[in-house]
Symmetry: C2
Subunit: 364 residues, 2 copies
Amino acid sequence: MKDLAEDVIISESGKVLLLIAKPVMPALEATVSSIKASGRTVEVLEYNFPGEPSFSLFEELLVTSTALNPDCVVGVGGGSVLDCAKLLAALTGNSQKVQDVPGTNILKGRKISLICIPTTSGTGSEMSPNAILLKEETNEKLGIISPDLVPDACYIDPELTVSLPRKFTAETGIDALCHCIEAYTNKFAHPAVDLYALKGIELISANLLKACNDGSDIEARSALSLGSMYGGLCLGPVNTSAVHALSYGLGGKFHISHGLANAILLPEVLKFNMPSTLSKTAQIAVAMGVKPCATEKETAKAEIEFIRELSKSCGIPQHLTEIGITADSLEDLATIALNVKRLLNNNPREVSFEDAIGIYSRIL
Amino acid sequence: MKDLAEDVIISESGKVLLLIAKPVMPALEATVSSIKASGRTVEVLEYNFPGEPSFSLFEELLVTSTALNPDCVVGVGGGSVLDCAKLLAALTGNSQKVQDVPGTNILKGRKISLICIPTTSGTGSEMSPNAILLKEETNEKLGIISPDLVPDACYIDPELTVSLPRKFTAETGIDALCHCIEAYTNKFAHPAVDLYALKGIELISANLLKACNDGSDIEARSALSLGSMYGGLCLGPVNTSAVHALSYGLGGKFHISHGLANAILLPEVLKFNMPSTLSKTAQIAVAMGVKPCATEKETAKAEIEFIRELSKSCGIPQHLTEIGITADSLEDLATIALNVKRLLNNNPREVSFEDAIGIYSRIL
């Protein structure tokens, strides 16, 4: 990342605010020094908070950012850090309040520059117009969607992902895989995005276990970084569907990490969608190198089994009870999921309350 | 195209200006009627001019558009029609004059909506921020590049290309192939665009001769439409390089059609670029289904020969003398090409004046 100081956006900025995830602070030291040496005022905020960022956490960050009044925000981290950096850039010096901007195209008019540098291969936030905050009072995850949240520049450097522990590599990797699969099987799938989705599926499925087994395997890390970028490029124009919708409650109410929640749901949701996505699921099988069976249906089933096995091999639990969710929570989870219409509307098969309960029950 | 009347942009417009290429007027009749029936004021301008659109031609169209004061412009045609439609949308009600906007990001602030509907599989204009006009006094082709020239919506309907004669199918098809190849081998190639480029190469090379031999082959036409769309998606973020630069003089000074000029140049420019693009040319061979040879160099050579043969089979002349260009014009052509720095800067290998003369000479 030593080149960051020479980035044209940085070099045209007087004051730069960097929001950096704690674990990668040491890796960014030299970069921060060289930006300082280039004559800019630099403020570094260390991000070290577990779980989804809350509105109140974000507001604290915004107070600091407003006081500094930067002309560029740089986010370096996973999805939570990047989402906060994006919102900081959009809301610093903006008369809109963060509580007022959830929803699509309500946030408007970012005035300062924004650079995102992912340190996981999963979020896709660096490529997307989305940011998610947790409303603590109600444990609701709220999406803020606006073209102003698309960064001006991204640096995707696999070296920054090398130190990511196996658990997070696996969970974020399956999250990126979800972005690709949910876009490819989406009701609003589009040829301009299909290519990203299929290439992302190919790269992630071929390299996730390798990177989990050897975090320093830079070839596997590079492939995951690229696959995750392709997954991120699916998010703006097409976006995700039922997997992400059904994981909202797991994240918001039970504070299960975003990637893990999606990973547990993915195979079962694909199975549920199969009647509407048979040939697309079979095409995903081709991208994953799964041997075609006699019929499309058998290929699709084999494909879903392949994903389940990949997920298991990476150490991801396959059942809700393994992560502390019991049967008495399923109605709550389904109620929350059915409210995420923004994503459920994208699903190739309609999901009723009973359908949602059925999906959760089968992975209980 | 019957759905066009229901397009959200059209249905929110009071006055719609359609600029339609003459040969497709009959195919659009029902569409125009249904837009009228939906209560909009509709003005149809028939476009029936040969060659590149000139500044003076465009200014005449602009007078009509300004008098109508539409809130939506729809272009239906090949590259010339779409370029004019894009500029009409951007300059109607704009205080900037068309003479003042050539260059990159000089044109600013389109106020009305813009829909593009290509009727060839070649231009990519429907996907790009580019428009080209001919300065008649000097026979110069000038590029106008601005995000405001990217349409709000495109309809890509292969049925509209079915009536395109063999000659234009071939020339525009190779133009689309150039967009893909020049983006993939570009100095500023990018993974987000590489996928479009390779898929476009695959689709066009597998279907161009089929569509030339049987214009009504709707499968081949559909593949070409999609391939051309992918080629168009290469234009904004990466764009073309030396093939397009070296064809500027052929189009501007000698009024050779854009696709034909590019088609004649393509194999020889690829050969010139080979020292810098050996493995990329070999990867293009894979996308085209050319059998790999013992070495990358041999594969690249076989690939270029494959393109030359494809072009020949489609009836495209391979020599400048066949289209009336003689040796005494080469210096002029090279001088013009060397001035197209916007594109030459993208080329993977530097092109000197002598290099340009060499390329033209070898295809004389």
